[in-house]
């Protein structure tokens, strides 16, 4: 079974079509990157798929459940790391992790154990008692992703996970994301070409709310007969420079 089946998913605001009849299937355990320029519809798509926004039309089946009618069944099985770092600033690293574990149904003791394990995986143990607002941007982002994973989601949404991070922090985070491949289904949005190329099994290029192309980085280069993925992207989005 596919983890995600998107059929004609559309979101229209008053004068703007944010997402236009998107069709997409994503296999379980696959990491797909939604790539596009600012305003391409990436975040709107993620918001609809994570039941934060109601589609204007169309639907998506997440693990067999409709985002329009079965949000209560979907939400316990997914988790989101939003575009900006989403942590509770005055809670410690440990408290942030325990909070999310408990919100997703873990008992107090189980939440403590999960938080400990998560801190070890993400190299946050030595910051366990530090308040989230005192962490560096990279560490906050790492915590944000650890919070998204502590509920053991079947589908994980990462919205621009490395936005604003320096090269080293970005590479460290790529490594962590890479380690998750095959274990859970990941939908990642980015406008960094190299990020999409390095991490994803499949890349969906969005442009002005529409799906322009779908395939691996290599397939997209072949399709456009270009030497680099960046050139392929520019060709596919009709923005040759």
């Amino acid at each position: 079974m596919n983890a995600l089946e998107i059929r004609g998913l559309t979101k229209q605001y008053k004068n703007r079509m944010a997402v236009d009849a998107l069709d997409l299937s994503i296999k379980q355990g696959e990491l797909i990157a939604l790539l596009g320029q600012n305003g391409a519809g990436k975040t709107t798509t993620i918001k609809m798929l994570s039941c934060l926004l109601t589609p204007t039309s169309g639907d998506a089946l997440m693990l067999g459940y409709s985002i329009k009618t079965d949000a209560t069944k979907i939400k316990p099985q997914i988790n989101v790391s939003p575009q900006e770092t989403a942590v509770a600033p005055t809670l410690s690293v440990r408290e942030n992790l325990e909070l999310i574990a408990r919100i997703y149904g873990s008992a107090k003791e189980a939440a403590k154990e999960k938080a400990q394990a998560s801190m070890e995986v993400f190299g946050l143990t030595e910051h366990a008692k530090d308040r989230a607002k005192a962490l560096s941007g990279g560490m906050q982002r790492r915590l944000s992703i650890a919070m998204a994973l502590i509920s053991e989601p079947k589908i994980l949404f990462l919205d621009e996970p490395t936005l604003g991070l320096d090269v080293r922090a970005r590479r460290e985070l790529w490594k962590k994301i890479g380690e998750l491949k095959g274990k859970i289904t990941i939908i990642l949005t980015t406008h960094y070409m190299e990020e999409a190329e390095a991490l994803s099994d499949c890349i969906a290029i969005l442009h002005e709310g529409r799906l322009k192309a779908l395939g691996s980085a290599e397939e997209l280069k072949q399709q456009t007969r270009t030497g680099s993925f960046e050139d392929a992207f520019l060709t596919l989005t009709g923005a040759d420079i």
Partner: protein
């Protein structure tokens, strides 16, 4: 369990902010002390309105305005950050959010009352069971102020909440009648003050403190109506914001 976890987080966010504690508890105590000093400087027994049994309930009502500020700022900051986006994608329900924000503030309001009346006893208020009744009579007011904070935070940004609060705090202080006798002012001012919940909350607490329980229902009815109306508005606005 979900609700407890979320309410616990909100309690920590509020109690870990030293400014919350300073303004929530320190300012009301300062006002009580100030009025005591002013009163003792006036020859004779001083104005009736500044007698501790009349002024302390007003300070308790005024201190609740800070509860609105804490609630409003917390929600507004969560809304401005992506933290609320994360929570909206979680299994928390709208009921969990509203109760999760409101519940930690109710004990804080009771604590404010306790601190206020304890200080008032130190300043000459006769300790008796009526203090407990006065505290209980202030519960609907506490709920109104919490609901108003939820409403503010659901509509405005954290900076806007701060600005709006300064107007609201003035309205609560002046409209309650703690600083001047509304009956003596009369006219439009009195009509407006009695149309708002602050004076009724003040009068109810004052009546309970004096053991005049027959006066309670009429005043409490106003406060309860405001608390319910504001609570429903806050819930509707919050739900609407969730979907945006």
């Amino acid at each position: 369990m979900k609700l407890n976890a979320f309410a616990g987080r909100n309690r920590k966010e509020i109690f870990r902010d030293p400014l919350s504690l300073l303004f929530g508890f320190g300012l009301p105590l300062f006002l009580l002390g100030l009025v005591r000093v002013v009163n003792s400087s006036i020859p004779g027994s001083g104005p009736e309105i500044f007698r501790i049994e009349n002024f302390a309930p007003g300070v308790a009502v005024f201190s609740f305005a800070f509860i609105s500020l804490f609630a409003g700022m917390l929600i507004a900051k969560d809304r401005m950050s992506s933290f609320l986006t994360r929570l909206f994608a979680s299994p928390l329900t709208p009921k969990d959010y509203l109760l999760g924000y409101a519940l930690p503030l109710l004990p804080m309001a009771l604590l404010q009352c306790a601190v206020c009346f304890a200080a008032a006893i130190f300043m000459g208020l006769q300790p008796n069971i009526n203090i407990l009744y006065a505290t209980l009579s202030l519960l609907p007011a506490a709920i109104f102020f919490i609901a108003f904070g939820l409403l503010l935070g659901s509509i405005f940004t954290d900076k806007q909440v701060g600005g709006f609060f300064s107007i609201f705090a003035q309205l609560a202080a002046l409209g309650s009648g703690m600083w001047f006798d509304l009956a003596l002012v009369g006219g439009t001012v009195k009509a407006i003050a009695y149309a708002l919940p602050f004076s009724h909350a003040f009068e109810a607490a004052k009546a309970a403190l004096a053991g005049n329980f027959f006066a309670l229902p009429a005043h409490l009815a106003w406060v309860v109506a405001y608390a319910l109306g504001t609570g429903v508005c806050a819930a509707l606005v919050f739900r609407k914001k969730m979907k945006q």
